[in-house]
Amino acid sequence: MNAIVARNLTKRYGEGENAFLALRGVDLTVPTGEVLFVTGPSGSGKTTLLSILGCVLSPTDGTAQVLGLDVAGLREGRLAPFRRASIGFIFQGHNLIASQDAIGNVRLPLMLNGVGSAEATRRAVAELEAVGLGDKTMRLPRDLSGGQRQRVAIARATVGRPPLILADEPTASLDAKSGREVMELLTRLARERGTTVLVVTHDNRIFPYADRVVAIEDGQLVQEAA
């Protein structure tokens, strides 16, 4: 089974003279349970690819099957519930809700999916313990370090046990040590649970955590590294 099957993915930004081809026919297959890194220079189309596979951006051309669902051309009304139930997101900035403590941030996706408050809190605490923040569950984001925030973000992405996790430059705002810790954590949780993970990064220090690394350049997959 494949978690992701993309064929001829093309994305054009803008119209006419200003049109810009960010993706030029990308073919990509990600087997279920794989931890795949996508690397490439700035502006090469990594985030664009991730956005399409994360169902927050629609491709101009091509098809994408995400967890068996043909997502190209689906409307937001259909995609939002799909993202909510099936995809965990980790962003470059942690994008935590500043006014909510760690528990509040982590149980958010659970409760949006209809898990009751008590159960969601219990699972959020357990997940925060799993990312090593069992003693900081009541902290607001501003009272956590960068690495700790990103670990809260990981807990938020993984707490609902989604089959697919997408991460865009998850270590970009972290120092080398925190970056390694965060990747270590994310990939360990994913492997324990058989989650498919797609990480976009140009931080080659974290490549060792990947099962496979592919590179993208000018909107095209150019190479597959071990």
């Binding site: 927050v56 939002a80 809700i97 509040g104 958010l108 999916n113 009751g116 408050s117 969601a120």
Partner: protein, 381 residues
């Protein structure tokens, strides 16, 4: 039920976000408090004015009023012919009809100062149109010549009146045989005396009243009696007490600047509140754009986020109108005096929050548009 946790987490998000930025919270609340306070205070003063202007129409117990043509205020500018009383008494459905004289006169105190009083001359033999809110004395005593009732509000001003005090009214010595309390319209307080005595005080040679008060026979249709009286007295205005009340209110609202001035202040307050809340909520959304974008990315719908905004708007409306009402209540209690009453009707407790809810929710529209246009892909940038 899968919806309940979802609504509860959106509620929590709304509350925490709103409480997180204290400056914005204070700003939005201030807008609502201002609008509620200004509106409530204007309404209260206006209703106080209405109460004063309709004191006579509301206080005198008559089913029907006959007044000179085009009477629209709390007083009649001319008199009715004396035969109006007799014509009214012979109209089918009329149980009784009595004259009422209502005119401003002067009362001279012991030390010689003249004070205006509103003299009501009513038929003391029937007592109809006589004093209400009586705190001392028996209105039946007014059947004796040379007697009158004064109001306690002006006791000091009238030179420390007591039961038995004698004052000079329009050049005649009159003895105080009773008191009413609180009967002060816009202007001097009421003084009650017999109709014949009133005619004497004003040196009148005719017996023309300003109003004829009419009682309807039990079982008779008031509207039909009004129509019959109007037909019998085509040169007068015939109306029920409620209609007379409404006429006065209508007059205040349309013929005087009162309605306009109170209306503009209230509308101004509402607009200021609307603008402040609208801008605060919009800037709140802009400040938290990444958070809203993140919520969209992880699968919250525009509807979910609209709910967050609605809840915040509702919170501002309810808290702000609550504070505003408390302030108006304090103000009303603070400035209450016989001459100026601020009336806060009980429905304001519900009316103000409902109105503010409407204002705040419509003010959140701009913020809503911003959220609706928000692309979830923005969180990756």
């Amino acid at each position: 039920m899968r919806l309940l946790p979802r609504i509860s987490v959106l509620f929590e998000t709304a509350v925490r976000m709103a409480l997180h930025d204290r400056m914005k919270l204070a700003g939005a609340l201030l807008g609502v408090v201002f609008a509620t306070f200004l509106g409530g205070q204007q309404l209260g003063i206006f209703l106080g004015l209405v109460q004063k202007n309709t004191l006579l129409a509301d206080g005198v117990k008559a089913d029907i009023w006959i007044a000179p043509k085009n009477t629209r205020q709390a007083e009649a500018s001319t008199t009715l012919p004396e035969r109006s009383v007799f014509l009214a008494r012979t109209t089918p459905g009329v149980a009784w009809a009595d004259p009422l004289l209502f005119q401003t006169g002067t009362l001279v105190t012991d030390n010689g100062t003249a004070e205006p009083v509103r003299i009501l001359g009513f038929d003391a033999s029937t007592g109809r149109g006589g004093p209400w809110n009586v705190t001392a004395g028996d209105p039946a005593l007014l059947r004796n010549p040379g007697t009158l009732f004064l109001d306690t509000i002006d006791r000091k001003r009238h030179g420390g009146t007591n039961l038995g005090s004698v004052r000079e009214v329009m050049g005649h010595q009159m003895q105080v045989v009773g008191f009413t309390s609180g009967l002060q319209p816009f202007g001097p307080t009421f003084a009650f005396t017999d109709f014949d005595e009133a005619l004497r005080l004003f040196s009148r040679t005719d017996r023309n009243p300003h109003f004829v008060l009419v009682g309807v026979e039990p079982g008779a249709d008031t509207a039909a009696v009004v129509a019959a009286l109007q037909a019998a007295l085509p040169d007068s205005d015939v109306m029920t007490g409620a209609e007379y009340h409404d006429r006065i209110v209508n007059y205040l609202l349309t013929e005087t600047q009162i309605g306009v001035s109170f209306g503009t202040s209230t509308v101004f307050g509402l607009i200021v509140g609307f603008v402040i809340v609208g801008l605060t909520m919009f800037s709140g959304v802009v400040d938290n754009l990444r958070e809203f974008g993140m919520l969209k990315a992880i699968g919250a719908t525009t509807f979910d986020l609209a709910l967050v905004l609605m809840l915040q708007a509702a919170g501002y409306a309810i808290a702000g109108s609550g504070i505003g009402l408390l302030l108006v209540g304090g103000l009303a209690a603070g400035i209450r005096s016989p001459a100026l009453v601020v009336i806060l009707p009980p429905w304001l407790i519900f009316g103000a929050p409902v109105l503010m809810l409407t204002v705040c929710i419509s003010a959140s529209f701009l913020a809503l548009l911003r959220i609706r246009g928000l692309e979830p892909a923005m969180v990756f940038r």
